[in-house]
């Protein structure tokens, strides 16, 4: 009977839909773009080196195309904030393809052309703040392909805790939802080498049971192996330094023997024990309960629960939940009494996800009704994937600057919109912390809370000066919080002693710090600094573009130039992965730029020069890049000249009148 087939079809479709919705989304999935079939992940190996200040992650995956036809496949990987994808290699049965970064349109054109011709090719692109997307065309039938890629990211220590995350959970916020086979049929391995110039007290991986071997002073090896494995959960590694870390500054440099500009990276550890803020605080909790938070609701509930428990007598709180609409759970501010906290906790536990994300309206509500006599802090828990109402970053920037409320963001999910959160928190003088489901949630919340409940260094002015120093990190936020570590990049063209100067205040009392540091003529180590510096510049340009301070065309031109010159995959550049002959065919010059000594090699360890220093810091200095602000200025000489002119005219006039009178 036809109706039976209809009912059966509907039932099967419903079942498929339900099971699809219930499936945990994960990164590391490879699927055939034409058939929707999934390639099998045979091996997945991760090799990480954490040197002082930055991490190098090399990922090797072996895929098998089980079908009898060539396969085109797409692999997505969440982008860690500030990560620079720098190398990619695809090994097929009979050939090896290497990556070359070119303008994105060029890369896509070459890839499509090669794909249409039936040739093997790869393409790596970056989709905004969300994913690296790797496309591989024409994986031969019934064969294996090995893809290897390397990315770098800067590391900063917060409250004496360093944190590295290997992202595997997809936030479920991709505009093009994808699911697939995230299991590894063969071996999954994770090997991490930690090299620190500072002593380390402990190394842990929450939720995992790794093998941790101490190889020497500050030198650890962490191994994890599973067979088979599911790539569903993030891997988080935390390493703890002694809590009484001294004030110090580590300097990493790279300048090739062939000459040209050198790069330096300063890692500043203020090591300040800032006093706790006194007096009661008003806390506004703004909680994202939109559909994109589906897999993170538990983390959200735990985060808020943990924060509420930390409120003190004299504090007040208010809780606002939002998705498409804004809903206030408390009727205005409540005193932080045990009864009120318990009642509010129950309401938070009952929150369910659904709807879109109207972050702007939620912030607008949260920033209203503030008592100007009390200090108000806002804790925003979201994936910041705002998609309803006002979405313009400029409007967020403007909204936050109008109010005297600091916003502290707990940013859930790996592909959350951290650039927007950065704008929101920076405009308010706050900060944001990324939080993974696999993190020590309570620890993360505690660290964020400590910052909010302690005095901050304010009015921070930082300058790095040297006769040949240029292009230093732009630092617009003027505060440094308890436990915060700062990373500053810059370039130089000749060996010299440069100077870093920091001027700041704590509760109005000036704190200053100045220290010289050496920039060597040649240092072959730390070649990856070149790309990290370039990424820092790209980040600054993207932020200016988001804030409407840089036109799209101009931003694209500058980012493309940086991306191609420094072999970085950005929104406007992409990595085409083909053989040398194909590159020649399309007239693409090979840059020869390669950081960290190429795939399969570890970076040359960090050469640091730790040193005791005084109080905290911030950053910035004049940049020779086009992202500076420009102004005219009336100097005192001009004003003096005109005062003299008018005075002279007056005297001349008076003299003439006297003569006329006489």
């Amino acid at each position: 009977m036809p109706w039976k087939r209809v009912v059966l079809s509907v039932a099967l479709a419903t079942l498929a839909f339900v099971s699809l919705g219930a499936e945990a989304r994960a990164a590391g999935t490879l699927k055939d773009t034409s058939t929707g079939a999934y390639a099998e992940i045979v091996e997945h190996h991760v090799k990480v080196v954490l040197a002082d200040g930055f991490a190098r992650t090399e990922v090797t995956q072996v895929f098998e195309n089980p079908s009898a036809l060539p396969m085109d496949a797409v692999y997505e990987f969440p982008v860690p904030p500030d990560a620079a994808l720098s190398e990619m290699k695809i090994e097929l049965e009979d050939r090896t393809l290497n990556g070359q970064v070119v303008p994105r349109e060029t890369a896509e054109s070459i890839y499509q052309s090669e794909k249409a011709s039936g040739n093997q090719a790869g393409l790596a692109t970056k989709d905004g703040h969300q994913n690296f997307r790797f496309s591989i065309a024409n994986i031969p039938a019934a064969s294996q392909a090995t893809m290897t890629f390397v990315y770098y990211e800067p590391l900063a220590v917060d409250e004496s805790v360093g944190r590295y995350l290997y992202p595997l959970q997809d936030g479920g916020t991709s505009s093009a939802p994808w699911t697939g086979n995230q299991s590894v049929s063969g071996t999954f391995s994770f090997e991490l080498e930690l090299k620190s110039t500072m002593p380390i007290e402990s190394v842990t991986m929450p939720g995992e049971n790794p093998t941790v071997t101490e190889l020497g002073y500050g030198h650890y090896q962490v191994s994890l192996q599973e067979s088979p494995s599911n790539l569903e959960q993030d891997l988080v590694l935390e390493y703890r330094f002694p809590s009484d870390l001294p004030k110090r500054m580590d300097v990493f440099t790279h300048r090739p023997a062939s000459g040209g500009p050198g790069i330096f990276m300063l890692v500043l550890t203020p090591g300040l024990d800032l006093p706790a803020a006194t007096g009661g605080t008003d806390w506004v909790f703004i909680l994202d309960t939109s559909g994109s938070m589906e897999s993170k609701m538990e983390t959200l509930r735990n985060s808020v629960q943990s924060a509420l428990q930390r409120l003190s007598e004299g504090d007040r709180f208010r809780i606002i939940a939002f998705s498409s609409q804004v809903q206030e759970l408390t009727n205005g501010f409540l005193d932080a009494t045990p009864a009120n906290i318990a009642a509010a906790s129950s309401q938070v536990q009952a929150l369910v996800d659904g709807g879109s994300t109207n972050l702007y309206d939620a912030l607008q509500t949260g920033l209203s009704g503030v008592d100007s006599d009390r200090i108000t802090s806002t804790v925003l828990v979201t994936d910041a994937e705002t998609n309803t109402g006002m979405v313009d970053p400029v409007a967020f920037d403007s909204l936050l600057k109008k109010s005297d409320v600091r916003v502290y963001g707990l940013l859930l999910s790996n592909n959350a919109n951290w650039p927007l959160m950065e704008i929101v928190t920076e405009a308010s003088g706050g900060f944001y912390s990324p939080v993974s489901n696999e993190d020590d949630i309570a620890g993360q919340v505690q660290r964020a809370f400590n910052k909010a409940t302690h005095e901050a260094l304010h009015d921070v002015q930082l300058a790095v000066t040297g006769s040949s120093v240029t292009d230093t990190t732009e630092f617009r936020a003027n505060k440094i919080y308890q436990g915060q570590q700062l990373v500053v990049f810059g370039r130089y063209t000749q060996p010299e002693n440069a100077l870093i100067e920091v001027n700041a205040k704590v509760k109005g009392t000036p704190h200053s710090f100045a220290q010289q540091f050496g920039l060597p003529d040649v240092n072959a180590d730390n070649a990856e600094l070149e790309q990290l510096w370039a990424l820092d510049m790209v980040h600054a340009l993207e932020k200016k573009n988001m804030l409407g301070l840089l036109s799209d065309d101009n931003a694209k031109a500058q980012i493309t130039e940086l991306g191609v010159n420094h072999q970085l995959v950005t929104d406007h550049t992409a990595m085409i992965v083909v053989d040398e002959a194909t590159l020649e065919k399309y007239g693409v010059e090979q840059s020869g730029q390669s950081s960290g000594g190429g795939l399969g090699e570890s970076p040359g360890g960090g050469s640091s020069s730790g040193s005791g220093t005084s109080s905290g810091s911030g950053t910035s200095s004049g940049s020779s890049y086009d992202d500076s602000d420009y102004a005219g200025a009336i100097d005192p000489g001009q004003l003096a000249l005109w005062a003299l002119l008018l005075l002279s005219l007056g005297l001349m006039d008076a003299r003439r009148r006297r003569k006329e009178g006489a």
Partner: protein, 229 residues
């Protein structure tokens, strides 16, 4: 001595520099608001008001103090001479400098500050002084004004050539001086002076002496601008 009873100082005191103070207050109110800065990207995206508002935004205390003090000084004098001249100079310079910066300085993405308008006002005042009978009749008056104008022009041209200001105040981290804006401002000042004269159907704005007297002592206003041989 009736210096402050007649002439433009008297006008300044009697009528009050209303427009000058209103514009200066606007600059103080604008503070360092980035939403009002002249931004190439934002202007291309349609925020045309930034062509005017960018001049009223400053990057820091030191930057604002010099620019606003200079503005009050020059604008108040010009307002006393002629409000029409003041409005024309400020309007023309605001738009002219913004368009000039965007057109001539492709490396500039963000610009702010009143200084280019200050330079325009100073140049306008120089033109008024140089062309006034009163200054011409002062012994050595024209030479003196000519020397000041030459120094003014030399400074602007030199700064454009070397790419930085001779006496640069500290504008804060990440902010660079743009001498070219001053040069454009000076040209706008000359143009404003010329336009007001032409628009008024007169050949020359008359500047009464500090104390009135030789040219009648009547305070100059836009209505009282008269031609002089």
């Amino acid at each position: 001595m009736n210096t402050f009873r007649h002439g433009w100082p008297a006008t300044l005191l009697r009528r009050g520099p209303v427009i000058t103070l209103a514009l200066a207050a606007a600059a103080v109110a604008a503070g360092a608001s980035r939403e009002l800065l002249l931004s190439r990207g934002a202007v291309l995206d349609g925020d045309l008001w930034r062509l005017a508002t960018g001049h009223f935004v400053h990057f820091g205390h030191a930057h604002a103090v010099g620019d606003i003090l200079g503005f009050i000084g020059w604008a108040a004098i010009i307002e006393a001479i002629s409000r029409r001249l003041l409005v024309t100079t400020v309007s023309l310079a605001a738009l002219g400098v913004s368009v000039g910066v965007l057109a001539l300085c492709p490396e500039v993405q963000v610009y702010g500050g009143l200084s280019a308008i200050d330079v325009a006002l100073a140049t306008t005042l120089l033109c008024v002084l140089a062309s006034s009978r009163w200054v011409r009749e002062l012994p050595g008056g024209r030479v003196f004004i000519g020397a000041i104008a030459a120094a003014h022009l030399f400074k602007a041209a030199y700064e454009v050539l070397v790419g930085h200001a001779i006496l640069a105040p500290d504008l804060g981290a990440g902010v660079k001086l743009l001498p070219a804006a001053h040069l454009v401002g000076a040209l706008c000042g000359v143009a404003a002076w010329w336009a007001v004269q032409r628009g008024g159907g007169v050949r020359r704005i008359t500047l009464p002496p500090l104390g009135g007297g030789s040219t009648g002592g009547k305070p100059s206003t836009s209505r009282s601008m008269t031609g002089s041989a």
